[in-house]
């Protein structure tokens, strides 16, 4: 139950859960596994029999080109399912890798089926979570295609703070972010050199600072304006779904 807490918080931000639904979720047969930095949580070209739910750390969905260039197309934090979609997709086309130390819960697909059969409402909420994943992807595509490096990074930092706030990982306007600049470069699709330049510019403007361990947002309003960040796509309203 404790390990499910971050996930339940992400659901409760969007809808109310009944005591029966909470009991149903906590009755699921789960397996917990830890991953070291760099380890694959989900392997590409596999057919997972379980979906993985983040409890701790940050993981990234990665696509690697034939020449070895990597694009990280999504970041996952505590409370996020990294591959809820593998339940219906069956075969994974990409890998999910631990970018920090990660703890994840493995939820057997048979258990997901049991929960959805017993509670169509929870089934709709699972659907909602994959839909929000899609909404985040759209926001990222817009950033990748149409933003300057500064706008893109400002948007990303606003989004991560907002997502981590849901699961209680923020402290004031700071949040943990133990990635390397090269990894951040793979997230925003830029060279590590330009990412470094942009971080220096953001720091120089007195907007945000990142020491490699945590991101400190110094001027939240300005960061929101720089990144043209509108949190509507994260669907943070509690309403019947």
């Amino acid at each position: 139950m404790n390990r499910l807490r971050p996930f339940i918080r992400t659901l409760e931000r969007r809808d109310r859960l009944s005591p029966d639904e909470l009991a149903l979720l906590s009755s699921a047969q789960l397996r917990v596994q830890g991953f070291r930095r760099g380890q694959e949580i989900v392997r590409a070209k596999t057919q997972p029999g379980e979906s993985r739910l983040m409890v701790q750390g940050i993981s990234g969905r990665e696509m690697v080109t034939a020449e070895g260039k990597r694009q990280i197309s999504a970041l996952h934090v505590a409370g996020d399912f990294v591959d809820l979609h593998s339940f219906v997709l069956k075969r994974m086309d990409h890998a999910v890798v631990a970018l920090t130390e990660v703890t994840a819960i493995f939820v057997p697909h048979a258990e997901i089926r049991r929960i959805i059969d017993a509670s169509p409402h929870l089934g709709r909420l699972f659907w909602l979570m994959t839909t929000i994943d899609g909404a985040i992807q759209r926001a990222w595509i817009a950033c990748l295609g149409r933003s300057t490096a500064m706008q893109h990074m400002a948007h990303l930092f606003c989004e991560l703070w907002t997502r981590m706030e849901i699961v209680g990982l923020v402290s004031g306007h700071s949040f943990p972010f133990r990635l390397t600049q090269a990894e951040l470069a793979d997230v925003v699709g830029l060279s590590a050199v330009h990412v470094n330049r942009t971080l220096q510019e953001l720091r120089g403007l007195g907007v945000v600072d990142w020491n490699g361990e945590q991101v400190e947002i110094i001027d939240f309003d300005r960061l929101v304006a720089l990144g043209d960040f509108d949190k509507t796509y994260l669907n943070l309203t509690q309403e019947p779904r």
């Binding site: 490096a149 090269a182 050199v193």
Partner: protein, 80 residues
């Protein structure tokens, strides 16, 4: 793996790399320098005047082993 240091200048912000990065080869370091220029050009906005965009790669001994420089110049002849 060899450590190279990549310095950049866009006419406004001069960034000297004090930490460096490990690259699998000399060619990889040059490729990263080219990508940096591409990214800097992508972020170029009209701010009047001409300016250089440049990147250089230094080795451990401080010797410049690769350099790329683009001289941007915009001409305006407004007719509105």
């Amino acid at each position: 793996m060899t450590r190279y240091f990549i310095d950049t200048f866009d006419g406004m912000l001069d960034v000297r790399d004090g930490i460096g990065t490990e690259f699998a080869s000399y060619d990889r370091a040059c490729a990263e320098a080219r990508r940096a220029v591409r990214d800097m050009i992508r972020d170029y906005t009209d701010d009047g005047g001409s300016r250089p965009i440049s990147v250089s790669v230094r080795n451990r001994d401080g010797k410049t082993v690769y350099a790329l420089r683009l001289d941007l110049s915009e001409s305006f002849d407004r007719d509105d």
